[in-house]
Amino acid sequence: MAITAFSGSAVAVEAAPRRRSRIALVLLLPGILYLVLFFVVPLVSLIITSLESQTAPGSGVYQYGFNVQNYSDSIVQYLPQILRSFLYAILATVFALLFSYPLAYFIGVKARRWPLLQSFMLILVIAPFFISFLLRTLAWKTILADEGPVVGTLKALSLLGPQGHITGEPIAVVFGLTYNFIPFMCLPLYTTLERLDVRYLEASTDLYASGWSTFRRVTIPLSLPGIVSGTLLTFIPAAGDYVNASQEFLGGSSSAMIGNVIQSNFLVQSNYPAAAALSIVLMAIILIIVSVYVRRSGTDDLL
């Protein structure tokens, strides 16, 4: 997991003497070219697009102009969707973490004695990847549909009103996001928990820490790299996701996320500047959230 590197306790005691090496540069070249070609170029083009303005109102033809208003306009217009995206993404991340941590702990720590069970459970975690996630999300749409077994049961138990739905509601979108990103949360958690040295846990219980206290003060801090990379791998794509929240899948009109707005601006309304501006806004917010999060979890792991 490359992202683990962010939060590792990389406290350099003394900077190692730097050695310039041609070989390192040559080896880095393909990576740099890749980044320039597939990240920098599209990003610049996106920024340029986001600043375009229409030649004439209603013409549908855009040309470059330093039109910063695109940003304020789209933010004001789509503020509910932007806020909703981050709310859903945070909820999905929290639920995925709550679900995945015990699972990863079991596979990585408790099941160490039975390697066969360990591999079997890991395969179960990865198994959903063998089927396209569009199909899986559609399957959930059927399961959660108004005529489906879940709604029927809930209605029979009076947990859901006679007029109630699940699909199209926020709950279905958050559920779909959580479900789809659980493997991304589970795998990095597993890789850190698998390496967790249980002797630290023993030392903690020997020093009067109860099970819960040991978990809070030793297990969690030691598995923080996995928590950070898992939450990032879940939160970032979930915030920009447009499949779960789209009306063809689990979403409804009241649960559209920023991804849906960008999609419809690009593909339906052909309002490229607005779509581009929203994409940049999404990226900027994610960058800010992630850097604050990584910085905090890197230094505050001693709480």
């Binding site: 002797r199 023993e202 030392a203 020997d206 009067y208 820490a209 003060r217 001693l302």
Partner: protein, 378 residues
């Protein structure tokens, strides 16, 4: 013991018929022992004999397959480690890598809500001379420094029972002596009970009230350091604790107080009180420093045993004493330590020599060494 106070005194530890089986391996067999409160108990034994496993059973990190663990008279066999008034200095240190040295040491105090944990942690760090490194992380310390932090982290809690798994193994001689003194002081001050695992025999002998020698999951012998050294009961103890010359032979005759064993054509007498077996084939022994080396055959006297003649095959000088190896036909190699009272060796390499010792210094074992019988025949 979650009372939030330091132990007022040590607790006694009792192990009753403990067995510990791992899948396919029996680590502890039928272990029973009582360690009185306030005593310093040392556990000696070769690598893999079950010392760490014994400590883990006492700490509650391992559950015995059968048997009971009693601390201060209370059966704690089924209680959790954090409920036991026990702290451990782990062989692997197990210092929390995400905490500073100070936080590591204060950990146990904070969990028990003891007042002024930070002050007490600093005090413990001063004791092991590491207070200046309090803000470092464990991985920024040397091996010996980490070991001292591990020691401080356990000692600071003043538990009724402190388990030390080779706590001084990574320290240099000077620091080790100093830490031994500190440990002794702490132990005496509060009268805590210490169970100390060590590979350093001298450390075990000088510090402990009681030493137990363990082998293959069993306690071979247990007693005061003097008893164990002067009167080993098995070949394992005789060779593990210091060196011994062991001779195997038939009991030729016996009186009411002694037995006489045929060794290399001579009769060797051992007091009955110091021999475990009084008839048949027995193994007897004597410590190398109890032997006197003579260049001429001594006259037989009652009260002394004689072995020889043999040829001196090795002389090695080691400062205070010189070690001679004498090859005696029909007996094997006999090792003699002689104090360097005068210049030069008592006998020269290759010379003929006899070894004598006072009857009262011999001992008889309950078993036979595995290697020595074949050795003597060769």
């Amino acid at each position: 013991m979650a009372g939030g106070f330091f132990a007022e005194s040590g607790a006694d530890l009792e192990l009753k018929d403990i067995h510990k089986r791992f899948p396919g391996f029996t680590a502890i067999e039928d272990l029973s022992l009582t360690i009185p409160a306030g005593s310093f108990f040392a556990l000696l034994g070769p690598s893999g004999c079950g010392k760490t496993t014994t400590l883990r059973l006492v700490a509650g990190l391992e559950e015995p397959t059968s048997g009971q663990v009693l601390i201060g008279g209370k059966d704690v066999t089924s209680t959790k480690p954090f409920q036991r008034p026990v702290n451990t200095v782990f062989q692997s240190y197990a210092l929390f890598p995400h905490m500073t040295v100070l936080e590591n040491v204060a950990f146990g105090l904070k969990r028990r809500k003891i007042t002024d944990p930070i002050g007490k942690a600093h005090e413990a760090l001063r004791l092991v001379e590491l207070d200046h490194l309090a803000t470092r992380k464990p991985q920024q310390l040397s091996g010996g420094q980490q070991q001292r932090v591990a020691l401080a982290r356990a000692v600071v809690n003043r538990p009724a029972l402190l388990l030390l798994d080779e706590p001084l193994g990574a320290l240099d001689l000077k620091l080790r002596r100093q830490m031994q003194l500190e440990l002794k002081t702490i132990q005496n001050e509060v009268g805590l009970t210490f169970v100390h695992v060590t590979h350093d025999q001298e450390e075990a002998m000088t510090m402990a009230d009681t030493v137990a020698v363990m082998n293959k999951g069993r306690i071979e012998q247990l007693g005061s350091p003097e008893d164990l050294y002067e009167l080993p009961k098995t070949a394992f103890v005789a060779n593990f604790l210091g060196q011994s010359n062991l001779f195997t032979g038939e009991v030729a005759s016996s009186t009411s107080t002694s037995i006489s064993v045929e060794v290399g054509g001579r009769k060797v007498v051992v007091p009955k009180a110091r021999a475990q077996v009084h008839e048949g084939t027995v193994t007897i022994g004597v410590r190398p420093e109890k032997l006197t080396l003579l260049a001429a055959e001594p006259t037989a006297e009652s009260g002394t045993n004689i072995i020889g003649p043999g040829r001196v095959v090795d002389v090695s000088f080691s400062g205070v004493s010189t070690q001679y190896v004498v090859e005696v036909p029909g007996v094997g190699a006999v090792v003699v330590f002689a104090q360097n009272m005068s210049f030069g060796p008592v006998v020269q390499l290759g010379a003929q020599a006899w070894a004598t010792w006072t009857v009262d210094h011999g001992f008889g074992l309950s078993d036979h060494p595995e290697a020595l019988t074949t050795d003597a025949d060769a």
